[in-house]
Symmetry: D2
Subunit: 375 residues, 4 copies
Amino acid sequence: MPPLEPKEIKVGVLGATGTVGQRFILLLSQHPYFVIHGLGASQRSAGKRYSQAVTWKQTSPIPGIVREMVVTECKPEFFKDCAVVFSGLDADVAGDIEAEFRSAELIVFSNAKNYRRDPLVPLIVPLINASHFAMVPHQRALHSPPLKKGFILTNANCSTTGVVVPLAALEKAFGPLESCMITTMQAISGAGYPGIPSLDILDNVVPYISGEEEKIEWETLKILGGIAEDDNGQKAFDMHSRHPLRISASCNRVPVIEGHTECVSVRFARRPPPSPQQVREALAAYTSDAYALGCPSAPRHTIFVHEESDRPQPRLDRDYQMGAGVSIGRVRQCRVLDIKFVVLANNVAIGAATSSILNAELAVLKGYIPSVSAE
Amino acid sequence: MPPLEPKEIKVGVLGATGTVGQRFILLLSQHPYFVIHGLGASQRSAGKRYSQAVTWKQTSPIPGIVREMVVTECKPEFFKDCAVVFSGLDADVAGDIEAEFRSAELIVFSNAKNYRRDPLVPLIVPLINASHFAMVPHQRALHSPPLKKGFILTNANCSTTGVVVPLAALEKAFGPLESCMITTMQAISGAGYPGIPSLDILDNVVPYISGEEEKIEWETLKILGGIAEDDNGQKAFDMHSRHPLRISASCNRVPVIEGHTECVSVRFARRPPPSPQQVREALAAYTSDAYALGCPSAPRHTIFVHEESDRPQPRLDRDYQMGAGVSIGRVRQCRVLDIKFVVLANNVAIGAATSSILNAELAVLKGYIPSVSAE
Amino acid sequence: MPPLEPKEIKVGVLGATGTVGQRFILLLSQHPYFVIHGLGASQRSAGKRYSQAVTWKQTSPIPGIVREMVVTECKPEFFKDCAVVFSGLDADVAGDIEAEFRSAELIVFSNAKNYRRDPLVPLIVPLINASHFAMVPHQRALHSPPLKKGFILTNANCSTTGVVVPLAALEKAFGPLESCMITTMQAISGAGYPGIPSLDILDNVVPYISGEEEKIEWETLKILGGIAEDDNGQKAFDMHSRHPLRISASCNRVPVIEGHTECVSVRFARRPPPSPQQVREALAAYTSDAYALGCPSAPRHTIFVHEESDRPQPRLDRDYQMGAGVSIGRVRQCRVLDIKFVVLANNVAIGAATSSILNAELAVLKGYIPSVSAE
Amino acid sequence: MPPLEPKEIKVGVLGATGTVGQRFILLLSQHPYFVIHGLGASQRSAGKRYSQAVTWKQTSPIPGIVREMVVTECKPEFFKDCAVVFSGLDADVAGDIEAEFRSAELIVFSNAKNYRRDPLVPLIVPLINASHFAMVPHQRALHSPPLKKGFILTNANCSTTGVVVPLAALEKAFGPLESCMITTMQAISGAGYPGIPSLDILDNVVPYISGEEEKIEWETLKILGGIAEDDNGQKAFDMHSRHPLRISASCNRVPVIEGHTECVSVRFARRPPPSPQQVREALAAYTSDAYALGCPSAPRHTIFVHEESDRPQPRLDRDYQMGAGVSIGRVRQCRVLDIKFVVLANNVAIGAATSSILNAELAVLKGYIPSVSAE
């Protein structure tokens, strides 16, 4: 049974005219309780109506609620009525702006990479490590000056999100992993707009995405790891260090519009490893805290396991459950490691805006948004 | 200095109207000494002029030499003047027809999969294991009745060819490999015509190609292995058994017209393994017997090693050296195995027709075509 | 206010495993009163559960209501409880089967081309010429033996549908057209599955679609024309003959998955012709009988007129109003004829299954389905 | 018989690092007598070796002759040894730079649009209107101060070039045209690099290209028209004014890499108009001055007329004759105008760099390059 929901929570969107911002707006315009109250963008857009400021690139029209809303600059004073702000800002400006919002006691759910490696900022894939919210009080306390309400919380890179979901499910069922090989085939929408020139990707594969392999290899450890506490009560992300996990990623761009496909192979610490059938069952059975707690945007099936030999495919499977879950297929033995399979995750839904919104829903349900009583 | 070349060798093409057959014709029409003398196809095409029988799908026009040539059925009597036949037949008919041609003392260079696993038939990637020609006398001798001239020789599957070239170069430089992970992104032309329906591949990835992973995993062992001899002088392919090599392949179809891209990671038996720079140098330095012996279709650079971070790419690199070599890039360390890199091979050139023709050139130069004196 | 709706009308789908059949099933599974009761397919599929018989190619899963339903052959005896059957049959079998169903007093809404040129069968684009239902009593009466209930009604070819909607709106507002030039850029889904081989269309345009230009040039005249009555009370489609209309179509296939784009230029009989602005207003103001009568699948905006200079685009606009309307943009003067514009219509929605279902809704509302009282 | 050729003519390339510049370099590196002697680019590239300055996007490697050549700024002093400069400059800088080069007595063959509408600058499609060279002495004389050698000569927009070739051939054979409707499906390479974002064109058509329709409608009149002389001996382009020709163009971008496809319909002044077969014959028989005079880059077949019903297609036909000719197919009657057909022209070959080079070859052969004696 879902919990009592809050009536209405005012939210802002930073980077509202960009690709991720547009997705935030589409999703929030249909949200049961988040209501868009502010739109932040660059100085160039500030003062314009949203429909004039944006180059809208979505397949459904601009939602009525924002069409005539006036865009402001990304300054906290314009968002003080918002309980939450979602940031779809580019990395080159996200660092300063998000910090400024936090200092102003605003709560920031960010899709940018800037704070993902911050030792006090949780990097949460909402289907996996909601437990990392535990770092929030610590982040507030160590801020100078200490904060009562503000914090920054990030979600993961889109290609990381796809792969950590099954990895977490496997560790939960079968204990720690020892190594993991990942080869991605990533959609062009992961690069934003204008992003990839068509001359680079039509009838082509680009076997390189700047910084992407490092993100997967690093973020996965933070997400799958726990929070350790030292003798002084200082908390720190342990980076999966109790069971070292070696991850090797190879990232490719392919001419697909939406949906990252990833070929994954894993080796378990335990011998003998689980069988493909045991893996299939464990993946299908995995349920997320987000769904258990009643987040309205959480997918019923965290992981959908395909039986057909040729699935998942991005074009056919990316919109299942509105892109909020992860699809897996071809679970089979690997002759080098133990088990291999194919993962599909919608890079603009669970891989970006949907994750931020789910994190905000978790924050509401877990009581991390002080001004809101969830009932 | 190239060796003396034969003046003219008459050749036939079986499956002449199909995708691979069309490539054979394009390449042979410009060959320095092979001259097309016979075209075999199905009963439906027999008796028609080639230009009427074929649905020509190449980007250059039908060569003048075959335009008005009359197509015959694939029966040895129509090809008795041919020193060599190239087979681009589909697997469902290649088995019987190729055997019949061999029995009739014809020499068959086949692109079909039927005899690749035959213990007496060499599976030769001409840039790599020309030494396997040594099985030919054995194949002739064990035929019933024994043959004087006829034999069947196959080239590898298109995705196997791409990956075995660097693997052979690495084993030559650094000793045996222990394991190898391969993830392919294969072009649609690999599936022939009509092949993949456009609805299946536009804006999509299909993470499955029937039988392909098994082919890579098996063929690679035969090609990289040697020929063993038992106490009775019986020869057999050793399947790399002296140094067991574990290979795991994951095959994907992507919306690319030509050129298979493969992400490869390897572990060497020797510790410590070579550095990325040593690997780059060894790959670039590798030269093929085919080039050393003077095969006219052999690429000058067996392996071209790219320094740019985002190469090779199929659209940009598939036509380099007329698609006869292999391109490699992104040689770097792997956190799970030792070294990883990206391979690009043109699936319709070195991955198909070009390999068959190179094998025939090798046969000429090595004296396996009795009726031809190479001078 | 919408009229009272019927509670539930049982319907069948012929050609249920094909591309159009799958669309019928998707749409009908969410329909307010049509309920799928029978699934017809070829002998090969008969007897199987739908989920086993079909190669499902839609982006949402097989609806639960048909998943376990047993497929039958396309024979009337299996559909006698159905008030309506929708036919997505291929043209090579549709002729006989649809006639057999009609003879058995079943009502057939067909997407096939077989009866479109039949002088007694209405060819109805539901947003345009619902008045052609008037031919139904005539069709029944002239059948041998005369029918009480059964009839066949077809919708138009997908590319015709896109263009007749604005043409009808223009004729309604400004009187008869004199000539019309149409150049189409059609999606691959218009060719069914497997349809166009990917090797034919990736990085390509095919400037020819067999029979398509003739369909547009002929069907448009039937749809835009009226029904004439001779001295004996015999009714006949007048093919727009009172104001001869010359139509010239050029049809192209482009690498787009869904949504036909058409560049249209028209010349009006009236001089001076309307201005672009008058045309824009007339198009936007046009409302369909289907919407006015309350068809639940009718789009609110029959024609959506874009103001942006670069719209409509298939990828962005094909799903607007669930693909049930038509999008138009770039209305401007033509230096050769009078006015030119761009039309986008979703070929699998309004261009196929949606039109058939709208026609059936019209039949319900107009009382052409005797067993149903629309209350 | 070809004329005696000059031994070697030094040429420069302006905008050498851009898309068109790269094509100039590829073509010139294999030219029988033009030899690249200077490379001009922006200040950012000046001083670097070409291989470091360029982001090379061609499918064959950087030619050896330019790899280590040092790039300069686009100033005449760096090109004074060049008999000719080819300009692939962007329109925002081409105007000033090209004028400066002309003032310095350099001869500029420009692919930019800036001077196409200049009343003294010939706009020459080399397969068509070589006669417009007659304006060159006039351009020199009216320059202030008058020039002895320098002039600017432009080629047409890529989509114009495709269509004027058959139009000129038809006018030559059958007299003046009265009207012409053109709908283009243009390749992404026509927009340069980075050009069209992949998110805008994958699985899509964009029915608008800024300024393109106006270019086709205007340039065609200048090219097809003659040169008139007034009573004072003043020469002017007559813009086809003796036989007014109405042209209406609709331009679309499609996901094709190279090769513009255009659907064209024409009405002749003469009644009755020629038959489709007469048109086919006239098109196939047309020969260009460029070929007749012996330009080495001129295609043997100015127009190749396809008989197959589904040709020309960009992927299959764009490289025929190295893209230097024009392909036409589907010549048939039009129900609105007289005759319709499909044109394919390679936008980066005959539509851009090849045309400029052909124009320079014409200049050599016609004696417009004073410093060169063609022998």
